[in-house]
């Protein structure tokens, strides 16, 4: 079924003509010594995690309870067990999270027996470091402020995150070890060349690197890995019935923070989340996927990018992710 799903993705490519005999390239049976693409990606990510641990003084791993950071945690187990993780888990809590995700976050950290540090945007608001224009405004962009404070508080010189290059075009150009200045800013024009698997991890005090071990993974790879590893995920990733409002081609979940506007109708639909960010700007998609293989089948067949389908804040401007990264965002 899952293989069929992956094949479905490509069934629209016409079959290659039978040219094997005249083909200048030798076609051979799969080698005994080759890694599958998931195994190759996994090995690369483990190598990256071990490099951060060995070369950075005080790293932290950003764990939100979302699928990408769930994969990161499994990779960290593969990289360091039977030892403990050589870094704490850090969550920047917007205070606008889905309760299922927060419950999962705590459950998973406890299950692993690893230290979880939570710093919240609520506190930054109380301290006057973040000023919102309205209480229901998306807090995604303000995570940067709280993150930079946490970095300063603990002296983190590296933050390991679960961003992927297939997510967005600013990410596509970002390094695996992405250098940030003392204001946490990313300068896309001034990135360190990254060659072979020789990562330059050097920073001065106050500077910081963001490390993205699953840079080369796609959304489909992440789901396939979740299936392969049998990883637990928060329930809202699976199809469930939820009250939603149709707005601008997206499904807005009905919450206290996202009430219907005048003239809008609330309906109940079978939906699942593809990402689980700030709940004021994260939309579910219609789905009947009750299992991970179902999700893989839907992911393989989907025609909309993860961010296009689910993020209210990225659509407004083609460049919004790039701008946020320059300001210190993950």
């Amino acid at each position: 079924m899952e293989l069929a799903a992956a094949q479905e993705l490509n069934s629209r490519i016409p079959p290659a003509p039978d040219f094997a005999l005249k083909c200048p390239v030798p076609v051979e049976a799969p080698p005994a010594h080759g890694l599958s693409h998931l195994e190759a990606l996994e090995s690369e990510s483990i190598h990256i995690l071990r490099e951060v641990a060995a070369e950075c003084r005080t790293p932290a791993l950003l764990f939100s309870g979302g699928k990408d950071s769930i994969v990161l945690l499994r990779l960290a187990e593969k990289a360091f067990r039977p030892g403990k993780f050589p870094f704490p888990l850090l969550h920047i809590d917007t205070g606008h999270n889905f309760p299922e995700v927060i419950a999962f976050r705590d459950h998973r950290a406890q299950q692993l027996g690893e230290r979880l540090v939570v710093r919240s945007v609520e506190d930054s608001i109380r301290e006057g470091k973040v000023v919102l224009s309205s209480p229901t405004q998306s807090r995604n962009a303000f995570q940067s402020v709280t993150l930079l404070d946490a970095i300063a508080e603990f002296g983190f010189d590296a933050c390991i995150g679960g961003a992927r290059r297939d997510e967005e075009k600013a990410r596509a150009k970002e390094r695996i070890f992405s250098f940030r200045d003392e204001f946490g800013q990313w300068d896309p024009k001034n990135q360190r060349p990254e060659l072979w698997d020789l990562y330059n991890t050097r920073v001065r005090p106050g500077e910081n690197i963001r490390v993205f071990p699953i840079s080369n993974w796609t959304e489909l790879d992440v789901w396939q890995y979740i299936a392969r590893e049998g990883l637990e995920i928060p329930s809202i990733y699976y199809a469930h019935r939820r009250e939603v409002i149709r707005r601008n081609g997206q499904l807005v979940p009905l919450t206290d923070l996202t009430p219907p506007r005048a003239g809008e109708r609330v309906e109940t639909a079978s939906v699942r989340f593809r990402t689980v960010g700030d709940l004021t700007c994260t939309c579910p998609v219609e789905s009947t996927a009750a299992t991970v293989p179902d999700i893989i089948a839907e992911t393989a067949a989907t025609r909309i990018t993860e961010r296009g389908a689910t993020r209210m804040d990225d659509q407004t401007s083609e460049a919004s992710m790039e701008l946020r990264k320059k300001e210190g965002y993950f």
């Binding site: 080759g34 693409h37 060995a54 593969k78 990289a79 072979w196 330059n200």
Partner: protein, 424 residues
Amino acid sequence: MCAPERIEFSHGELLRFITAGSVDDGKSTLIGRLLHDSKSIFEDQLTAVERSSRRRGLPALDLSLLTDGLQAEREQGITIDVAYRYFATPRRKFIIADTPGHEQYTRNMVTGASTANLAIILVDARRGVLTQSRRHAYLASLVGIPHLVVAVNKMDLVGYSQEVFDRIRAEFGAFAQGLDLRNVIYVPISALHGDMVVERGDNLPWYPGSPLLEILETIEIDHDINLDDFRFPVQWVCRPGTPEHHDFRGYMGRIESGSIRAGDQVTVLPSGRSTRVAEIATHDGPLGEAFAPQSVTLLLQDHIDISRGDMIVKGGDSPRFAREFAAMVCWLSEQPLDPRRKYLVKHTTRTVKAILSQPGFRVDINTLARDTGAQTLGMNDIGELRVRVPQPLVVDRYADNRATGSFIVIDETSNNTVAAGMIL
């Protein structure tokens, strides 16, 4: 919170490639076509491209806009070095290192090429083999890319002529003979119309080979890694010290080349002490055999003092110990090479101080002539020099082993990566 069942996937390998071409040879169109025809482009991305195409007054969908850049690039009319793009077919997953064709070409291509299995060099059928095509082929050979595909593009503009294709192939072939290129394949295409990219099309019936995508899907890549010499740079030593793992001492790292079995005799360098592999551990249980590029944990029979930066090799293998070695370097920084300065060299998992000599020669990458009078190397220069380090490094020739023959140079003051080196 439900944990699904563990599910195994049988999947093809990962192929990393880079595309090289001069401006307007059709690189963006080709990448756009590969992504589009392999259905790797999503509707919202297409809509964005349609919007930009319309805004720019273009009549049709311009696939090259799919790889269009960041706001910073649009505003300043520059292109940031390397962008990575992904697509998959049932046979393989592909990572494209997309490097822009202009000014910083050498630096960008070397960066993108360092991890690539294959390079596609685009040649405009109307213009034939240009200086740039030679430069691209030279860089591909310098960085040791195992496979080269010469895609003769815009065949539609030369009437899909076999003669034109054959002439370009002969010309390129004559030049490539002088380079150390293992495998060169030629394919005529029209990136714009799609001929011989994903499908054969009807316009090139005389071409006996496979379409470009099929070449990418089937080219044999498992011998791209050195399978003979076992090299295991130690990344991290795991000593949990917990009651249940009291005596556990695991050496963690990635097998950079070769393979290893439990029971094999190994030598730890630089100490030169020998022992046997007691177990190849992973989080998923022990392995009987492991091979490059797997990340594993080695448990050894005897207690030997081993730390990060040490290299574990198999019994008889003998890499070189070197306090001084010659290398080809590609200079990546605006600050030119300064032989009076101290640099850092990162080689496998070891970073040491280093002194770089004046270049023995600088390569003119347009003529491949060696300029022995060069005093220094500036950004985008390639040259030969000698590296001196205080403690010996365990090195191989880059030609024998990409992983243990490569290094980067870091400027100790700016912390920037200023050069890429390949050991001779």
